[in-house]
Symmetry: C2
DNA sequence: ATGAAAGCGCTAACAT
DNA sequence: ATGTTAGCGCTTTCAT
């Protein structure tokens, strides 16, 4: 049988399971567990991923020496280092980020939750986030809530489980409560919200100029000569919708117009809602001669419907929408919009979050605004005054 | 262990169930039951994330007991379990996936590398991938190569470092070599390619019907009466481009047409390339009366240019493009396309990969085809025969 | 039914 | 300059 490594007796040694493919023994005499050294450790050709141990074994050095070499520490013999780096390359060694992160207590990973990738706005914001991430030491994990609150909550849990160092979020249409985010903040994880924000949370937010953008668009419609401007807004609880509605009202106020609630519609801003809303507008005693949609694509969709019915744009109805998009530009007539520069929003979001993660001393939360600009196109040019 | 509250001995104290979440003890020496004052239960308000140890300490049990409770193992006292789950909830405990993955040697994470999120095709594929992921135990990490080969290589390294269980990739325009993917395959990590594949790699690939789609579109143009059909193709080395070009040629062959290389252009399929290519076509002695673009948006872009020059579509030039898109549908004239159903591609990609990860016995690699369909719209309807 | 301890891959403090 | 070891959070034998 096997000789005990401690008392060198054979009698009391029994088998005690396998550990990492090696037989484990137990000596009943001196109560010691020991593992038999593998006599042949020549076959370094692993089938899976190489570890620091594989590299160490390949050269007969200790793992700490390998770690030192790989991390470019000073207290190491240059020759040893060279040999180690060589061996690491031959074994195609790659550090295990799981192990590193577990040890360090941080992952250098940022979680991003967006409602919908297919929405061009979010795709563009994502591109901006990615761009800043590429120039940093952070990588990102993107989750899609698909406009579902429960999915959003699952996403937050997943990201917490992954131990992300920070979170970027724009909420689903359904999300009105905020306990799931509160929990994250309570754990001390920095959170930055953008676009669809929840104002009750004391976080940094990156916003576009919802108020000003709407004001500018509606003012533009007024100056173009529109008498009855309707608005197709979104879910009432949504902060950006409220702000855009405020902008709409403010423009009315500036020009001494009365606000007629009949011309204000709250919808779910989905493509399929457009037909109903448009029909409603047309059913009014005095249908609007200007329509402002909170979402640019809703504007295009309505123009499509209007065109099919032979309504002349902008002569009979002028259109304007919030946010730019290739469809707004290529559709005929092209849609007047307020461009809110989505990539810039993504970049800013990421910069703020990185600052938050790195400056442990959190600076006071506030709203960061990205400036947008009015883009006048065919859909609104009735020939009136262009400001 | 615990000191008896009555006789102050330690030796005879044993655990005796849970009462309202508190450990109950029994002293064999003085026959007394007692419940431990939750003295240490109060200072559990951690600032960071709770661990299994925190939960264990909260109740004075060992971490293995907590682990058993959390993982729904059988050999545990129901009361203990209840108390542990309660404490875990109060502490907002969430498992550390890093630690779990490190231990298990798998992460239940799949890496996805795409060239460009803003490209609607990839966004839609991603949505399909996500959809299948949501119904599985896998989560995904998405990386964007931004059409850069070096970024793509960095992405693969990052994902390997994260120890993803599998990889989904569609290559950048620049990528023609494949060592970086070969390395991953050598590590035993399943890889599935889609759309922009590298044929030299012996992987499962999910493809659309590039050949058939092109054939159908070109045949359609021929049947509509086009005499000189030009093609704006993409990078020559790209497999899908080759296939689409083959489909184009095959249609010519079927109808006994001669292939004129003058009408074949290889480009970088970027928006800005369209003007040059269109100008080139128009500069020919006999300009084309039908243009087939490998990318739908290139078709729209060219139609835009053509419209600006007063060229009538489809009378003077008919258009057709590969792949559907909202722009193709909404532009005027709307573009005839071959819809290759991007979400279905994403779903299939994910299903194949999951099968590969779970069936350790790898089934032989092959190309999975997703069926597409011809969508005839205004841009091609010269009034000829519609098949 | 519960606890103790090994080990996943890595880093860093502590030896030597 | 290099090796040994503890520990990050967790699961899983093994022992009680």
């Amino acid at each position: 049988m096997q000789k005990c490594t401690k008392c060198h007796q054979v009698d009391g040694v029994i088998k005690a399971g396998f550990i990492r493919g090696n037989q484990r023994f137990f000596c009943k005499i001196c109560s010691q567990h020991f593992i038999l050294e593998n006599a042949f450790k020549s076959d370094l050709k692993k089938n899976g991923q190489s570890t620091i141990t594989d590299v160490a074994n390949a050269l007969g050095v200790s793992i700490s020496t390998v770690s030192r070499a790989l991390n470019d520490k000073s207290d190491i013999n240059p020759d040893t280092k060279k040999a180690i780096l060589q061996a690491a390359m031959e074994l195609d060694y790659r550090p295990n980020l799981l192990a590193q992160s577990l040890h360090k207590g941080k992952t250098n990973t940022i979680g991003v939750i967006i409602p919908d990738v297919e929405h061009p706005f979010f795709a563009k914001v994502l591109a901006g986030i990615q761009q800043v991430a590429n120039g940093s030491c952070f990588r990102i994990i993107v989750c899609h809530s698909n406009e579902s609150k429960s999915a959003e909550i699952l996403n937050t849990e997943t990201l917490i489980d992954c131990r992300v160092d920070g979170l970027i979020i724009s909420h689903s249409k359904e999300t009105t409560s905020f306990e799931h985010i509160k929990k994250i903040i309570d754990k001390g994880i920095p959170v930055v919200q953008f676009d669809r924000i929840i104002t009750e949370l004391n976080t940094h937010n990156v916003m576009h100029q919802d108020y000003k953008g709407s004001f500018d668009l509606v003012e533009h419609l007024i100056l173009q000569g529109c008498e009855r401007i309707a608005i197709m807004s979104g879910p009432q609880e949504m902060y950006i919708c409220k702000q855009r509605l405020e902008g709409y009202k403010a423009a009315f106020q500036k020009y001494g117009r009365e606000i007629n609630e009949e011309y204000i519609v709250h919808s779910n801003i989905a493509k399929k809602d457009c037909l109903d809303v448009f029909d409603y507008f047309m059913s009014l005693e005095y249908p609007p001669d200007g329509i402002f949609t909170i979402l640019n694509r809703n504007g295009v969709e309505m123009m499509k419907i209007a065109k099919e019915r032979g309504i002349r744009i902008p002569q009979e109805i002028a259109f304007a929408g919030f946010g730019d998009d290739i469809l707004a530009e290529y559709f005929e007539p092209s849609l007047t919009v307020f461009n809110h520069f989505p990539p810039a929003i993504g970049q800013e979001v990421m910069k703020v979050l990185i600052r938050l993660i790195e400056n442990k001393t959190h600076f006071p939360a506030y709203n960061h605004f990205i400036e947008g600009e009015l883009v006048v196109r065919q859909s609104s040019q009735k020939g009136g005054y262009i400001k």
